[in-house]
């Protein structure tokens, strides 16, 4: 290349960005921990500005809100389990780079199916049979809700982010519709506790530990999902399709089949989460049953890099923040949406820090005199 010697110097940018070849795992974790610390400090500043309280006291209130009493710890564990369940469900889809933002709708579809069984067959079927019917119905409902967008994506390449997103609202309105149909008293739009006296279709309570069954089921699912993604042939296919659909086609993987199969699994687990929420936790159904977990799970899964065991940690972090910030808002008489602000800030920091794990910034060298 010919350089015209005009005496003008070529301006070199102040810094440029280089992809890291490989980063030692502990360095990556130090960066992540630093990011969380930075986020907590930042949240402390925000809380201080809003409440004018000593930031340390704010943190102790948060901690107390999440772990303060046995009841709170138990409620925390139950919430972590439910968020983890939805996260485990969406993980295989994301690993395949299929943007299933329809977790919310799939959970609701599953929950609606099990609520319908509880209401319709609550008096007629023996409880063991009823539970099996509910299980099948909710898993089917979740899977159907997930496979519809998958079919269109696999066959016509329809944008799955937008499709699954819209499916959420159809599910929400469907639940609203049935909530009015089944409402007690009529017209209130509230279903109320289903089978309050007979407890038909309620998940059995192990010992006197309510929710324990939920937690066990979710933990088993987490282990299975880890093994499935890491050691099974299907898990490998998911990873290949996620990395590059062209490679997958080249080595003879049927991309359509993998997409459909993975989305059925994803939706089925979401449906199961709906069952756990309706039959194992709330014993009712409403628009709020999924409580945004379908969306939060996406962030949980992403932060954990699709590893189900890390998801335990990330969902614990999110639920801790929610509980803690809710406690702050009660203690300082603020609106409870404070927790959403704190959660948002922490997620910004965590997804932001991934940059420093994958890339390094090289500054312009000092010019020689």
């Amino acid at each position: 290349m010919q350089m015209a010697d005009t005496g003008k110097k070529i301006k070199e940018p102040l810094f440029h960005i280089v992809r890291r070849d490989n980063i030692v795992w502990w360095k990556a974790w130090i960066i992540r921990l630093l990011a969380i610390l930075a986020a907590l400090v930042f949240c402390g500043i925000v809380s201080f500005l809003l409440t004018k309280e000593n930031p340390l006291r704010i943190y102790s209130v948060m901690f107390d809100g999440a772990f303060g009493t046995k009841r709170r710890v138990w409620s925390l564990a139950q919430n972590v389990a439910m968020l983890l369940c939805v996260s485990v469900a969406v993980a295989p889809a994301f690993k395949m780079r299929f943007w299933n933002v329809g977790g919310e709708g799939q959970v609701l579809a599953g929950g609606l199916a099990s609520a319908a069984c509880m209401i319709l067959f609550g008096d007629s079927l023996p409880s063991a049979v009823l539970l099996i019917v509910m299980l099948i119905a909710s898993i089917l409902a979740g899977a159907i809700w997930a496979v519809i967008p998958a079919i269109f994506r696999a066959r016509w390449n329809t944008n799955e982010t937008l499709f699954t997103l819209m499916m959420n609202y159809i599910a929400i309105q469907l639940v609203s519709f049935f909530a009015y149909k089944w409402s007690v008293p009529k017209g209130s739009g509230q279903v109320g506790i289903i089978n309050r006296t007979s407890h038909a279709g309620w998940l059995p309570v192990i010992g006197d530990m309510e929710y324990l069954l939920n937690i066990i089921i979710v933990l088993v699912l987490t282990v299975i999902m880890y093994v499935y993604l890491k050691y099974s042939k299907q898990g490998y296919e998911i990873a290949v399709v996620g990395e590059s659909e062209k490679t997958a086609k080249y080595i003879g993987i049927s991309v359509r089949k993998v997409i459909l199969r993975t989305m059925i699994i994803s939706g089925a687990i979401c449906g199961l989460a709906g069952l756990l929420l309706v039959a194992g936790t709330d014993h009712t159904i409403s628009r709020e049953t999924a409580a945004g977990r379908g969306f939060t799970a996406i962030m949980v899964t992403w932060m954990a890099k699709f590893n189900p065991f890390f998801m335990v940690l990330t969902s614990l972090l999110i639920v801790f923040l929610e509980k803690g910030a809710t406690e702050i808002s009660t203690a300082f008489e603020l609106n409870e949406s404070f927790s959403e602000i704190i959660t948002g800030i922490i997620i910004f920091f965590i997804i932001g820090c991934e940059f420093f794990i994958q890339y390094r910034v090289v500054f312009r060298e000092k010019e020689a005199a």
Partner: protein, 325 residues
């Protein structure tokens, strides 16, 4: 009754029109900003905070300032949200979907938090946020609209923000299809690597498009609070309109001028259950599904039809790093 229905459909449609125009501009740069619902909340609450503080600190409202201060606050707040999104996805290369969803959590949180706590934080003694005074300035419409019958009711009875929404959509359409800037922007969204090779500054276009898009979407929130809700903020009152705005983008096949008609149609679908005789409450809930069902049908039809000018920008949602090539 028809005129009244169309007028109300337009009023429902205006926030969606702002939101979808903003999102179209954003998506044309290749950024799929799922934070739009959050940004619309922030735009709304920004205006509320501005108006509240102004009303509290002055005895007599100056008509110009009463409109200007909330407008400016709303724009600034939405701009900050747009900058956060850009910084994370463009500069730090974070995943767009995750960032967008986090923005929505964050934005809705901000809206509800300040909506619920502003009175206490500002140390004022009013029971709730009620900005009817400010709202009345926002709602000023042409004085002779009443005299023109149905024509006036449908076309002339709206406030300045509604006309601003339509003008913005037309201007956006013009800029996107008829100017060099629009061509460059579309190139960035279709194929950033080629655009980069042609000397277009990809990051600059992404930043500008997303921030301008955020500001426009935020105005939708402002319109909702100040015009539609008469200046009364209620938590979660804005509802799922943000997602509906994203649905409208698909329906309008990424063309702001089509989304003018689309927004009125969606607004109509949103309220049509009020106009159907003998419909019980549960039936109303089914009717509220309509806009989403229509969007899905449209999404499916356009993807099956594979018409080239009805597709999303080719690199929508994909990150671009020059070093990765």
């Amino acid at each position: 009754m028809w005129a009244e229905f169309i007028r109300r459909a337009i009023m429902q449609g205006i926030p969606l029109l702002f939101g979808s125009t903003g999102e179209i501009i954003t998506e044309k740069s290749g950024n799929l900003n799922l934070g739009i619902p959050g940004i619309m909340y922030v735009g709304g609450i920004g205006g509320v905070i501005g108006a509240f503080l102004y009303e509290q600190n002055t005895t007599e409202l100056n008509p110009f300032l009463a409109v200007f201060i909330p407008l400016l606050c709303s724009i600034l707040c939405s701009l900050i949200m747009g900058l956060i999104y850009c910084f994370l996805t463009v500069s730090l290369r974070a995943n767009q979907n995750v960032t967008g969803l986090a923005m929505t959590t964050f934005g809705v949180g901000i809206g509800n938090f300040f909506g619920g706590s502003l009175v206490k934080l500002a140390g004022s003694d009013v029971p709730s946020i009620n900005l009817t005074a400010t709202s009345s300035y926002f709602r000023t419409s042409l004085p002779f609209a009443e005299d023109l019958g149905w024509f006036g009711q449908i076309f002339l009875s709206h406030s300045f923000l509604a006309y601003l929404a339509i003008i913005t959509a037309i201007v956006a359409s013009f800029v996107l299809t008829k100017t060099r800037t629009g061509l460059n922007l579309r190139a960035v969204g279709e194929n950033p690597a080629t655009a980069d090779a042609a000397g277009i500054r990809v990051e600059k276009y992404k930043y500008l498009a997303t921030c301008i898009g955020s500001i426009i979407a935020g105005l939708g929130g402002l319109y909702y609070v100040m015009d539609y809700a008469n200046g009364v903020w209620s938590n979660d009152g804005f509802g799922d309109r943000g997602w509906l705005a994203i649905a409208l983008v698909i329906f309008a096949i990424w063309r702001p001028n089509l989304s003018i008609l689309g927004s009125i149609l969606f607004g109509g679908l949103y309220i049509v259950h009020n106009y159907i005789p003998n419909l019980d409450v549960s039936g109303q809930e089914l009717f509220k599904m309509l806009p989403y069902v229509v969007t899905i049908l449209f999404l499916v039809i356009t993807s099956i039809g594979k018409k080239r000018n009805a597709q999303p920008p080719a690199s929508l949602g994909l990150p671009y790093f020059r070093e990765d090539r």
